[in-house]
């Protein structure tokens, strides 16, 4: 392997260089898998004002003056006459706010609260949910629970209304309202008020305020003039299921010292519960909130450990790993039947099963360390489910695998091809290996500037084809799986195959920090770029002493002061 540029600074300066992907298929096709996704996602925050202009574009810098016709700085983009764009200007990592339930969280929430048949669960997994057909949300950095991107659009408002109608009607016909809002011989308005107070506390994940009770009393009274008691209760429920109190999780907090805000105990309970269970708080956690224990580090630690010991935490943990590694789309990844005729529904299911089993074994059953994830059972990077996603429909596509390591495991941002530079595919050649084809392509000076960062890593995966099957030979030629890591803080050097690569990365502090940043994005629902590092420093210091245990990482989040502290925006 020829000498490579190894300066870390290269990552930051590369946007200024000519580059191209040589890709016939941008691996950024799916949400969040491309280097552009970060900046793009952060830009979406312009709408909410939560974190516009975050340094989330990271190494992209301002991206000005790149080759080809790419010019300008990508700034000054608020000239829409409609206005209404965000106003916050700083890149505060922890701003107060509210966050809409993701569709997955919605399913879990209505199932927990209403035991509805409109959501079915097998084991701990939701197999069918009323929210499955809701308008698809944007992903930000791969995570579909983004606080900044999730809003209630007209389509979704209509779907929420339909779902609430169905859920409430089911509750009425199923006779559950008789249990929820009994009123044998009592005053109906008192019964209705009791219902709102008790069931509302579950739905809203906090006590119902006095003024809310008053408004619901009016709603009930209005309905009761034209409907019977049960229908009037149904009207309350149908309405409650569409309120902001139900649809948004609040992390708004209350004013504290020096311009900061502190989450209420109920907000803290929700954050804990949705983080670890994708679900609302259970009775015990709600009781802890009521008792005020979640305001203390010890109280949050106790609660987090209890939630983590429940089987309900396993799939949310798996969700974190698959969103982080871009492998959530395994269920829909498409392969070329001519190239991979064996890739059928059975194989897909086997890959999905393998994904679940591997993540369970490494992050749930065992010591849960980042090292175990990267090296246990030959390591995550050798797993067919991961390699199948990070490939093309008809070839291994080393560029996708190199990008996976750079962007998802090292949290480095890669530049994008300059505008108006023709990006052409690497032609197929039955007499060459994939590596030979891509090497020739990336030797093109216009491409080499960036591909020197990507290809030497991706080539190390070459003994695994586009569906993750091992191959020593390709087109009758031996496959070279030597690779090299460069431009990392502490993992540089040559390797053979993704197993060895995993071993090198397992010891890297840069990787550990990146895992922490990915968890930050999952837990808080947005990306804050470099600001994440400062926010995370106490957590990361403790993570090291906790053997880099991913489960422990979430406990450390819960224990940290940042978990419950928000910096008020001006």
């Amino acid at each position: 392997m020829k000498p490579l540029l190894t300066s870390i600074a290269l990552v930051a300066t590369l946007p200024l260089l000519i580059s191209c992907t040589g890709s016939a298929q941008d691996s950024s096709r799916r949400p969040g898998t491309g280097p552009g996704s970060n900046g793009q996602g952060a830009s979406t925050a312009n709408g909410t004002g939560a974190s516009p202009g975050t340094p989330g574009s990271g190494g992209n810098g301002t991206g000005n003056g790149s080759g080809g016709a790419g010019t300008g700085t990508g700034t000054g983009s608020s000239a829409n006459a409609s206005g209404g764009n965000g106003t916050a200007s700083g890149a505060l990592a922890q701003v107060p706010g509210i966050r809409r339930l993701s569709h997955n969280e919605y399913n879990h929430t209505v199932l927990d609260m209403l035991q509805t048949a409109l959501v079915t669960r097998a084991g701990d997994a939701i197999t069918k949910g009323i929210a499955d057909g809701f308008t698809q949300d944007s992903s930000v950095d791969g995570f579909d629970n983004s606080r900044t991107a999730l809003g209630v659009t007209p389509s979704l408002a209509g779907q929420y209304a339909d779902a609430a109608e169905k859920l409430a009607a089911e509750a009425l016909t199923a006779g559950k309202l008789t249990a929820l809002a009994p009123c044998a011989g009592g005053a109906e308005d008192v019964c209705a008020s009791d219902f709102v107070r008790t069931f509302g506390q579950q739905l809203f994940r906090r006590p119902v305020a006095a003024d809310e009770l008053t408004r619901y009393a009016t709603l009930f009274a209005t309905e009761r003039t034209r409907s019977d008691y049960a229908t009037s209760i149904r009207q309350l429920l149908e309405t409650m299921l569409q309120t902001p109190a139900f649809l948004y999780r609040s992390e708004y907090g209350t004013p504290a010292l020096a311009g900061t805000r502190v989450l209420t105990d109920y907000e803290t309970a929700s954050l804990l519960s949705y983080m670890l269970w994708s679900s609302p708080p259970d009775a015990e956690l709600t009781a802890a909130a009521a008792a005020g224990t979640l305001a203390t580090t010890a109280g949050r630690e106790t609660a987090a450990r209890r939630l983590l010991q429940s089987p309900r935490a396993r799939l949310p943990l798996q969700y974190f790993v698959t969103e982080w590694t871009g492998t959530s789309r395994l269920a829909s990844v498409i392969k070329d039947a001519a190239t991979y005729p064996m890739f059928d529904a059975t194989m897909r299911q086997s890959l999905l099963d393998g994904q679940e089993a591997f993540i369970k074994k490494t992050t749930w059953d065992g010591d849960g360390s980042i090292a175990t994830l990267l090296t246990g059972d030959a390591g995550m990077l050798t797993q067919p489910w991961l390699l199948t996603v990070h490939a093309h429909p008809d070839e291994s596509f080393p560029i996708a695998r190199g990008k996976l390591v750079r962007t998802r495991l090292l949290c480095q941002e890669l530049p994008v091809p300059p505008k108006n530079l023709m990006v052409v595919p690497v032609a197929k050649d039955p007499n060459a290996t994939t590596r030979q084809r891509f090497t020739a392509h990336s030797n093109n000076p216009a491409c080499a500037g960036c591909h020197v960062l990507i290809d030497p890593i991706g080539f190390g995966f070459e003994r695994y084809d586009g569906i993750g099957q091992y191959r020593a030979m390709e087109n009758g030629l031996p496959v070279d799986d030597s690779g090299e890591l460069t431009a990392t803080e502490d993992a540089n050097g040559p390797f053979h195959g993704p197993g060895e690569l995993g071993t090198k990365l397992a010891a890297s502090a840069e990787v550990q920090r990146c895992v922490g940043r990915q968890a930050f994005r999952y837990v808080y629902g947005y990306s804050a770029g470099a600001a994440e590092i400062a926010e995370l420093s106490p957590v990361l210091a403790d993570l090291k002493t906790a053997n880099n245990n991913i489960r422990e990482l979430f406990v450390l989040f819960a224990k940290s002061q940042q978990f419950v502290t928000r910096t008020a925006t001006p």
């Binding site: 996602g41 829409n80 659009t153 409907s227 429909p393």
Partner: protein
Amino acid sequence: MSPSRSLLRRRELLGALGAGAFLAVPVFRQSLAEAQGAAPKRAIFVQWPDGVPSACFQLGMCGADGLPDLKYFDFDGQLASFAALKADTIILNNLRAVAAEKNSAEGHEAGMASLLTGRSSRGGTSVDQYIAKQVGNLTRFSSLQFAGYPYGGGGPQDRISYADGFDLAPEPDPVAMFEKLFSGAQPAPGGGAPDPAIALRLAQKKSTLDFLKAEITAVEGATGAAEKPLLDLHLESLREIEKQLTQVAGAAGTACAPPDQGGAVKGQYVGSEGDTIDVQVFAKLQLDLLYQAINCDLTRIATFQWAPSVEVQVKYDWVPGFSAAPDQHHAFAHDHESPANEAIFQGIQNWFTSQTAGLVARMKATAEGGGSLLDNSVVMYASEMSNGTHILSPLPVLLAGRGGNSFQNLGTKLDAKGVAHNDLLLSIAAYMGAPMAAIGDNGLSKGPLTL
């Protein structure tokens, strides 16, 4: 959403439709506007992915500046199926995608983010949504977003429509769209009192909406400026839902028959196993629903996305030469070296165009006032990039429709002289009665193009 999940929903809905679970509405066309004596104005934005086949490279027809000059984007090339409609069209020449060129994201994402916003970063408000805010109250739906492909996707390359920073996903399900368009309360025959059960249900929904609007306002009062856009979006969405409830049909006018609910949608595009989709049938249904929505005056503003930029899921296997590999559209968009692949790519782009031309022809064949529905419309048929190899400019755009007979350059190629495409968006907004001084990035708008 994975295809399997959306299919699951489709199967459920098919069952629901079979059970007759919703109410059909007789809808009336152009009632409001015709009553007022003014022709309704409509804007439809149709996006196709990855630009124009790169005949420029093959045939040595590149422009002097090295950029493609879109020679294939003409009536003897990709626009062949528009030839009969030439007198109702304008081909835009030399329109630059300046905002996309400034975007730090890669070409496909940049092109999509800027197409209707004129912005160099994702977000803002796209021109369709700006217009919808101004004049959308005239119809039951302020605007509609259609997908011409049956898959989801939540990335920047999947969206063209934005409202105050939040992206609007196109509807990938004709059944859901049909249900949305044509369900609602049914007025009693002869204008008598409506069915009391339905009237009660409407009153209940209205009561809920009133309550929710007050709740949003209360939350807005208790939270900070950062939450305002999120809550304002929610509030606007509730108002839209409310309008859909109460503005079911116009006061008077020609009855407009919705598609046959028994046959138009149900089960036509989902294979017998429930896991295969006939994309050609799917697309026809979506286009039909778009036409009906316009014809019935349910909306006057719509987007239609033929595919994301970077389409790798649809098998366009009715196009000659297309093999089983589903990523061929995007692969061949990048491939200008193989004439065979180029031909397949042309075949797909031509298909998008012919289907769009079918919609336009149908609008032209629909009488309205003394002319046709097309006379009072503008259809912007555009791609987010010039060429799939990440060449962004010039932006290929065909305008169809006579803009209420205000357009002066019909039947010609209009030289835009290299201005940013923001100016074209201004022209369409102006025609729609929603004039904007500028759109998108500061400094990119010079003023509406004279069409």
